[in-house]
Amino acid sequence: MGVIPFRRTDQPVSQPSLWSLSKKLLRAVYRSYIFRVTVQGILTLWVVTTCTFYMIRKMPNNPIEVKIDEFQTKQNLTYEEARSKVAGLFDYDPDAPFIEQYTDYMGNLVQGDLGRSITTGRTPVSQQIAKYLPWTLFAVGLGLLISFVIGMIVGAAMAYWRGTVFDNVMTAFASISYGIPDFVIAFMILLIGGIQLELFQVGDYIGSVDPEIKAGLNPEYIRSLLQHVLLPVTTYVLASVGGWMLTMKSSTISTLGEDYITVAHARGLSQRRILFGYVGRNAMLPLMTRLAISVGFVLSGSIIIEYIFIYPGLGKYLFEMTGKRDYTTIQGIFLVTSAAVVISNILADLLYGVLDPRVRVGSK
């Protein structure tokens, strides 16, 4: 386990037996903790999959019945014909018992096969996800990174200079950023910036990338990529930076009030050392967990923003597939996004353990 910084002391340990024994014991507890959350995570994913699987087959308006109905009316097929056709589409044998279908699906899943899309010519779902995922990852990830960094710095500064004009202006800005929904910001950018004031040509900034430029690592392509990601990222940043700022501010204020900060001043430590080693590190602790959790939700992105800016991310794709009732794809996307959340939650726990020695041992 490389994660646990049980650093070696620079002197030989004086009482090896008891101390090293307890260390070993603690490490074992720690390991079993990881083991436990992993098992929990897998269990959660299994429930997610089972639920979506069940939903698709048993819910009113379920897609299979809808499709059968559709084929019956559109192509004038008998119920049986339509049914067999749909069975082909859905990659399963409708006459097989429910349990058998379920075990088949799960069996494929364990091998990494998410099934095939119904509406897009039987392409594998995993392939489709792989196509749309990077866009979302790029846009939302970039937005998250930028707003987190800005939020940390400005939030800490607000706490440090609290009560000043800077703090008041920033708090007002943060409240507005936090209070206004992201799609409002998106519309404002488009309508006011793009159409009313004509600051930019909207057409040049929406979509994924200029189709005339060849993909690759050439500067033009990268420029085009950044140009098209600019509006979604700006929207994400403006919509989420306020939350980070306010959280960091309150966290920093409560850290500044801690005794150990006063003691650090009394010890004559330099301002820089206090700011980074004492205030910053402790103030950031609660935010790191939040960051890790936010990372988990990056994949599910923001459907509305991607839709407004016609950005080809996973969110917009999910919306389209919902419209087409492509349930295998929906199921696949849910599995992937939920997995991201589960994994990031586990990472958040581990990260917290690394950053805060107090929870490293002994916690539940």
Partner: protein, 349 residues
């Protein structure tokens, strides 16, 4: 005692806080001298300004506090006078801890929870120009041994891995790391159990003897103060109302408030079945009462007390008091002492 060299001299120090309701006079016109090797105990109720005074001595007050008047003069090892209030940021940073250190309540989180004890030691040393880690380490381990800690283990621990008493010792060792002349102890034994308290006090006494630093000891526990102090100062509502040698204060208190504190303290009124508290609570320091600030709660109060604050006057050698009725208080104290000793005799026999 008085003949010794003065290490720290405080003159007419006043500190106010700006609060929402107005100016809060936390310390008013405090003056005292701390001699080399001497321990001065500050006693008084919570909120009487003891801690503010001490934070003021190191200029560690929060931003809304203001030092209105006064002078803090410190004489360093070379005999040079330092005007603490006139120090610039850089010089102040050097002054703190290397000349005057402070030991906080260890049970609270005075230690940064996310870094090792050793890093706190190294940080402190580095801030004062000691970059040789080996030497610093030796010095710290030596101090840990002196405060009766398992040096190696504690050195490499996180604060949360230590008990309250151990943390308190770490803080003491940390305070002595740079060999300061003055150490301020801010209720170092509060919130510790009685056995731990005892061992911390023993450690402190031994260290003082060995290292010879002067100290200011804040406590609301009179028994602890009586044990460790050479001089005792009673504070009430931001003022030093009585100050004198430890035996004078405890055996011949001349201020009604000091007497009240004695009577409210269990271990000093041995034999008496009932403790007498002081009625009422400390005054509002934003709108302090006129005259003597204690007159509302004082059983000895006369008309003058309500209008004119009593001046600090020399009562006997090195014993000053601000009370119009100091002789009555002295008499009353003696009377109470005789009662309690008869009671004790009666119980023993």
């Amino acid at each position: 005692m008085a003949g010794k060299e003065v290490v720290l001299s405080v003159q007419d120090l006043s500190i106010t806080y700006l609060t929402r309701r107005g100016r809060l006079q936390a310390v008013s016109h405090a003056s005292f001298d701390l001699h080399r090797g001497e321990t001065l105990a500050l006693i008084g109720e919570s909120g009487c300004g003891k801690s503010t005074l001490n934070f003021g001595l190191m200029r560690l007050l929060p931003k809304n506090a203001n030092t209105d008047t006064g002078k803090i003069v410190y004489t360093d090892q070379a005999g040079q006078k330092i005007d603490v209030l006139a120090l610039n940021t850089r010089a102040l940073r050097k002054f703190r801890w290397s000349e005057c250190a402070m030991v906080f309540q260890g049970a609270q989180n005075s230690l940064n929870p996310v870094i090792h004890v050793r890093d706190m030691i190294y940080d402190t040393a580095k801030a004062h120009g000691l970059n040789n880690r080996g030497e610093v380490r030796e010095r710290a381990l030596e101090l840990f041994r002196k405060v009766r800690l398992d040096p190696e283990r504690v050195f490499n621990s996180y604060p949360h891995e230590l008990s309250g008493g151990m943390r308190q010792r770490v803080l003491i060792a940390l305070g002595l790391l740079l060999n300061p002349q003055v150490v301020i102890f801010d209720e170092p034994t509060t919130a510790l159990d009685i056995l731990t308290q005892r061992s911390i006090l023993n450690v402190l006494r031994d260290l003082k003897e060995e290292l010879g630093f002067s100290s200011i000891f804040i406590s609301h526990d009179l028994a602890v103060a009586a044990e460790i102090a050479d001089t005792v100062a009673t504070m009430y509502a931001g003022e030093i109302v009585e100050m004198g040698p430890v035996n004078d204060i405890f055996y011949e208190p001349r201020h009604a408030y000091t007497l009240g504190l004695m009577e409210a303290s269990p271990r000093l009124s041995v034999g008496r079945e009932e403790l007498d508290g002081i009625p009422g609570s400390p005054p509002d320091l934003v709108e302090p009462p006129t005259g003597c600030k204690f007159h509302i709660r004082c059983p000895f109060a006369i008309e003058t007390c309500k209008t004119t604050p009593p001046p600090l006057e020399q009562a006997s050698m090195g014993h000053i008091v601000a009370c119009y009725k100091s002789s009555e208080v002295l008499e009353k104290g003696k009377e109470l002492r005789s009662i309690s000793s008869t009671a004790r005799v009666a119980r023993l026999s």
